[in-house]
């Protein structure tokens, strides 16, 4: 199967195939790259990534570092003059890359926090302070408040083999080295 079709078929069941088909209509205008907030600081070139996918350059795309530099802010997604669902397409490509063992270490780290705390980004003092200011409870009604729920999440991680995907070590409760 062509890489383009693989991306569309992978994302289709969750995001809808029409949503994913927008990948094809990209006209390479570069508006995504020019306005990318991550691109201000990093090497991500969204336009080129999309074109590489269209040209079925599967290995290059899946193994690239820049695939993981998108912060999923959806700026390009909102602005694209062809309505290409750029961010969702990027996330789908990451799913495929993950399956193939290309998951970036930073993303595996974030994922390990999900298993450890139930959150990709656990709460910290600054967030607690903000919540208080906004009149919210200091601790949100998540695994932070309901420690038992964390067990459920960890069970899910095992059942879906999420732990294997990110190479999680239950003994050290950390990523395998």
């Amino acid at each position: 199967m062509e890489f383009v079709d693989e991306i569309i078929e992978t994302g289709g069941p969750i995001l809808g195939s029409e949503h994913m088909e927008t990948l094809r209509v990209c006209m390479q205008c570069g508006k995504c790259t020019g306005g990318c907030p991550s691109g201000r600081l990093t090497a991500i070139r969204t336009r080129k990534m999309i074109l590489s996918a269209l040209l079925n350059m599967r290995d290059e795309v899946l193994s690239s570092d820049e695939l993981w530099l998108c912060t999923t802010c959806y700026t390009c997604y909102e602005r694209c003059p062809r309505n290409v669902k750029v961010t969702d397409i990027t996330r789908t490509i990451r799913n495929i890359a993950g399956r193939e063992g290309y998951l970036a270490k930073s993303h595996r780290m974030a994922a390990s926090y999900v298993i450890k705390t139930g959150h990709g980004v656990p709460i910290n003092d600054a967030v607690k302070e903000s919540r208080k200011k906004l009149g919210l409870s200091e601790i949100p009604p998540t695994t932070h408040a309901y420690k038992d729920a964390l067990k459920g999440i960890q069970t899910l991680a095992k059942k879906t083999k999420f732990d294997e995907l990110i190479d999680f070590d239950w003994e050290t409760m950390n990523l395998k080295e």
């Binding site: 209509v25 390479q28 570069g30 020019g34 074109l51 590489s52 040209l55 003059p81």
Partner: protein
Amino acid sequence: MEEEATPQEVVTEEVVPEQETAEAAPEKTTPQEVTRETAAPVGTVEQGAVAVIGGGVAGIISALDLVDSGFKVYLIDRGASIGGKMSQLAECVTGIMPMMVELETNPDVELLTLSEVTSISGSQGNFELEVARNPRYVDELRCTGCAQCIEACPESIPDRFNFGLTNRKVIDFSHSQPVPNVPAIERDHCPPDCRKCVEVCTADAIKLEDKETKAKITVGSIILSPGYEPFDPSIWARYKLGNPSVVTSLEFERMLSSAAGSGKLLKPDGSEAKKIAFIQCIGSRDPHVGNELCSTVCCMYTAKEAKRAAELNPDLDISIFYMDVRTFGRDEHVVKQIGKKYGVKYIRSRVPEIIEKGDELQLRYEDPENDEMVDEEFDLVVLAIGLLPPDSIQRMAEIAGVELDSFGYFKTELENPMDTSVPGIYVCGTAKAPMPIMDSTSWASGAAARAGSIIAQQRLVKPTSPIEAEGAGGRPKIGVFLCRCGDSISGVIDIDSLATHIERLPDVAYVDASATTCKDAAEAIRSAVKEHGLNRVVLAGCTPRIYELHFRKLCEEIGINPYLFEMANIREQCAWVHADNPDAAFEKAEELIRMSVARAGYLDALTVKRVPVVDSVLVLGGGITGMTAALEVAEQGYKTCIVEREEGLGGVLNDIGVLQDGRRASELLSEFRGKIDESELITVFTRSELVDLAGSAGNFTGTVKIPDSTEELKFGAVIVATGAEEFKPTGIYGYGERPNVVTQLEFEKLLDQGISPGTVAMIQCVGAMDDEREYCGRICCGTAVKNALRLKGSSPETEVYVLGRDVRTYGIWESMYRDARGKGVIFLRHDANKKPSFDGEILSTQDMMLNREVQIKPDYIVLSTPMVPRSDSETVAEILNISTDDYGFFVEEALRPKVKMRPLDSASAGVFLAGSALYRPRMIDECVAQGSGAAARALTLISKPFVEVEAATSVVDEELCAGCGTCVSVCPFGAVELRELVEDVNTFGLVSDAKREVAEVSERCKGCGLCASYCPSDAMSVNHFKDRQIFAQIEVVM
């Protein structure tokens, strides 16, 4: 109309002798009844009328073509003046001004400004329109346009015409030199109880209590020409339109207009611009604003705006951010020129936002060519805004009951691109689709032909009296009229002081310095000639290119021979070019006028010859364009004859499988052929060629070579629709040797066979945009997209690659380009200097967007080659006396003010151009529009009983002529021949019946003067440019 009962119209008309017309017609049936009606005298038929809704450039051209072929027109516009957006464009306004004035003074035109159509009832042939006329608060009939009210008005408001860059008064003209030349009041802004304007108006024209009124008009057909809506980018905060250094392209036009005076490109804050960025596609190719189409014109106008800015200040640093450069024809040169001459940079990137950094504007973009991210500061950003359907279109569609297409424009069919869904209602201009001025005007002429066909039986051509060389008698009494041209001249030159200088010149009997517009000048001339018994007129104002004909006509009306009128150009040649030096401008103006006055004294009254018109048309070429033209002429009751070189009609369409709308081309063709077979007024000669053309506009004789013999045909006009043919790129990519390397037309045949190959690669610009053929083929990108889509439709598994440069799918083609991508067609982009290579198996291309080589293993390579002129186009041009460009395409009369406004007129009177033979190939709907348009242009000629021949042409002094034939060989128009002269000569005794040869000038003479300057014995001279007239001019300034 009030002006109808002038004595001129009582004069017995000089009609074509009936016999002659009948003989002149080429063939069979005689539409004599129809012909007689068209030349009917006043009052015998009720004149057919058309309502033209929208008075921009398209509406104006439609209206002119209609009145010029004997119909009445109601021109309805929402604004206080006609002229539309074109009058706001710095470079274009001089093109439309004379047309506006021509309409204003034409008694067959009724202008309904500040008006909106509120209902349409009835059907074709008999529509009734209700028009709501909004109050102007100034009586159009009483107002003299003196502008005292404007002086007196205490209240200023931002001027919308200048996008608030300047202010206007509450009572004011909508812009300089409006038509009608009457101010309007923005009543909501009047200060309470202020009646200053009422107090100063001496004509009692101010009507503060004016109310909306209703008018009812009855017409046979309707043309919708509401124009477009410029995209408003203020809906996007990230383009910072609130910042004074960010302007739209229309605002930039106004800045350029203002800069014409100061010579400096000033930003709204008053500082001079140094570094400019243009951002393309703002509001185009973007579904977020409801416009997924390409606006077609922005690439072109941006290049022109950049050029004008660079001309003002060659040190300007200019960058243009684009996606695909879509300029065609002459505009391609502009793109190249600004790059070479002024270093304007084209950067392929769609800029997402403007960041304010102090006084500077920062653009962050990806530069794919250098593969880097760039932050760059500019001090002025111009947003190239796109064209949207006008706001009024929905309501107009409801009122007229016509359908809109899925993009919001008036819906038409491919082969009827002017016809809306309601018979008798037609569309032209940008309300049909985004299109440039040249196409709008072609379409407008086409719509005029369609609208005229409904009321063809009600044509009414009013007789005029012949112009004879009388009235120049006696000592010259010259009237000199100085026009201020709004403030365009008087802003630089002190007109009153100039007048006192002119008064002292010999033979000057009267000087007037009151006129601010052409209309004022006309009024002044009209009254002063009578009052002061003037016999010659000098007008000092703009270029004679624009208004000379108009004022000649005026002179004719008031009893002065039109050749006793003279113009001094103190606008373009003084006020505009020497704006920075008023003293020098003044001095030069004074000298130019002195020269004109000197010349005026020596001018001769000339007789204008009238040639009876043969009321039929010869159409050269029987492709879609020619067939359309012939049908259109026939629909209005005139005969046409199609001369086609091939076996049958149809042209290139015979080789096309499927059209862009999915229908088979053959279906469309048989429909057209059927209509032609049915028409009794159309004769077709196939396998035939025009080999000679004699005569002149209105009365041509053509020799046509038909199989086995020749035929002499007589006709009044020629429509050239000889088309173009696909370039066969022998040797390129193995074309001609490798059977799987084909052209697009050949590929259409393969598609007809239902092939389903594994991989197909199309290569664009093969034989185009290179050293040999610099031009863009214009239709090849669309063709590739169409064929790629067709292939994907019948064989979805086939991999299709399109290897090109810019993808030039303008207008509606943009949506097909998107669809092609959506179906999986891959577009790759290569540099013009790094063309793809093919080794017989692998096709390699260096993709610019990825900066790496891409290899394809194609089963077929399809070469997109440009259409090229037919091999005999130069011969045809020579026979017809028309011009060609470097490649052999025919070109229109490229002189101002005709350029763009009259794209279908050749430089040879009576010869009209249409379709792909005319200056770059065209799509089918464009060919049809031009075919109809050329028919409308021809109809303006053949619907009249005679044509007047320009009298400023060469004359022979037979006494002096030695018959050397130099003139014959230098004449570029074939207008001079030698004839035998038999005379009695006294040389050492009388010789009777001595024979010698002398030159004779025919009506084809254009008055260029070549013969006069080459003639070794001074026997040739040009009327109106006699030696003594020119020497008189020189003497007064030496």
